[in-house]
Structure formats: C-alpha cells, structure tokens
C-alpha cells in the first residue's frame, strides 16, 4: 500500500466518522431522541476516533497514529458494551428506539468493533510507513481536507448541542428536554 493510498483510505475513515456523527445528530434533531450521558460518551469516542486519520493525513501514516485510534475504539466499545449490559435483562425495552432491530448503543459497539478491525488491517501494510519521497503529507487534497473539516465542524456542533441539552449542570440520566432552553423561558 502506497503512502498516498493510505492517506486516501484514512480520509475515507474520516468520512465514516462524519457519517456516524451526522446520523446521531439526525436521530437527535429529526426524531427528538436526546442522547443520555452514556450515549454522549460514545458519541465523544466516535469524534475522538478521528485523531489517528487526521494525523495520518497531515503528517503521513505512522503506527502511533493508528494506535491512538485503536485505544479510542477499545474505550468506545467498552462504553457501548456497558450500555448493552445495562439493558440485557429479558423484558427490558432498552434505551431509545431501535434502528433495523438494534438500539443505537448496539450499533455503536458494532461501529467501534469495525474501527478496531479496519485499523488493524491498515497496520498490516508496512510500505505506507516508508518515506518514498513522494507528495508531502501536508499537501493533502481537497477530498481529505474536506473530510477533516467536516469532522471538526460536527464535533464543534456537538459542543453547542450538548451545552443546550445539559445546560451548566450535570446532564440528566434520561433527558427529555434541552435544559439550557428551559432555563431561558
């Protein structure tokens, strides 16, 4: 795998992260499903997952960048697994609605598992880590630059959304309204 192909695949990974963050926003804004604290923590891990691909696009692929994303994905999978276990008892309706038969936290676990496998597969290709004297990583194309700014923009939008939802106090365990907007009325 050449260095430029690795950068392109990392950019694709950033689009995947952006898709997850956008889908979570869609569920929140269109279906009115406010994320619980554990749900927010999983969303946070998806945003932080972008650290590896962004560093790879900017500085070129390095094992340490992939390792950073692996650590985040492992933490995210653990958080999602806890929420699955909280609702595993027979008769428990789960938290929120289901999408294609699975609740969002189950999809989150699948997403983190896919991220772990995809990152491990990327680490199998040693040639991407060699300096082939080709295009400097800083000269990322529009495709990669757009992906980076998309993820950063969606993460920044989550700062505002979470501030509106939780207000300036601790986030409610089962949020039903935007706390900051309630306080303004």
């Amino acid at each position: 795998m050449t260095r430029s192909l690795a950068v392109a695949l990392n950019a694709l990974g950033l689009y995947a992260v952006a898709f997850v963050l956008a889908a979570a926003f869609a569920a929140q804004l269109l279906l009115g499903e406010l994320p619980c604290p554990l749900c927010l923590l999983q969303r946070i891990q998806f945003a932080l997952l972008a650290i590896g691909p962004i560093l790879n696009v900017r500085f070129g692929a390095r094992p340490s960048h992939y390792a950073a994303s692996l650590l985040v994905a492992a933490a995210g999978a653990a958080f999602a697994m806890r929420q699955i276990l909280l609702h595993i008892m027979p008769g428990d309706p789960g938290y929120g609605s289901a999408l294609l038969g699975y609740h969002y936290y189950t999809w989150a676990f699948i997403g983190f598992a896919v991220a772990i496998v995809a990152t491990a597969v990327m680490l199998l290709f040693d040639r991407q880590f060699e300096d082939d004297g080709g295009t400097p990583p800083d000269a990322a194309g529009t495709f990669a630059r757009t992906a980076v700014w998309l993820v950063i923009g969606l993460t920044a939008a989550n700062v505002i959304s979470t501030l509106l939802e939780c207000g300036l106090a601790a986030c409610p365990a089962d949020p039903v309204a935007y706390e900051l907007l309630k306080g303004m009325r």
């Binding site: 650290i51 962004i54 950073a68 950063i152 979470t162």
Partner: protein, 52 residues
C-alpha cells in the same frame, strides 16, 4: 457540563492535530482520553443486573 467540556476538548485536539504540532496534538489527545475514561468511571456506578 462535563460532556460539553469533553466535546470542546476534542475539538481543540482535532484542531491541534490538523493545524498544530504533532507532539502537542498527541499530548492533548492523551489528556482527553484519560478524561473520557475518568468521566465514564464516574458515571458507571449503576449495578449491572446480570443474574438470570
């Protein structure tokens, strides 16, 4: 409030990764990841009812 702070911290980490020095980005990343795990441990206080 802590989740807003975490999202803000991640925005700063990602901006540092894209615009700043690599070492700074990795250091900020490490601090943020530890903060995420600490927040999880703080909230994960409910007992898991796993006995069937």
């Amino acid at each position: 409030m802590e989740f807003t702070a975490l999202f803000l911290a991640i925005t700063v980490v990602l901006l540092a990764a894209w615009l700043g020095a690599r070492t700074l980005a990795l250091a900020l990343f490490a601090v943020t990841l530890v903060a995420c795990v600490a927040t999880y441990l703080h909230h994960a206080s409910d007992v898991l009812k796993l006995s069937f």
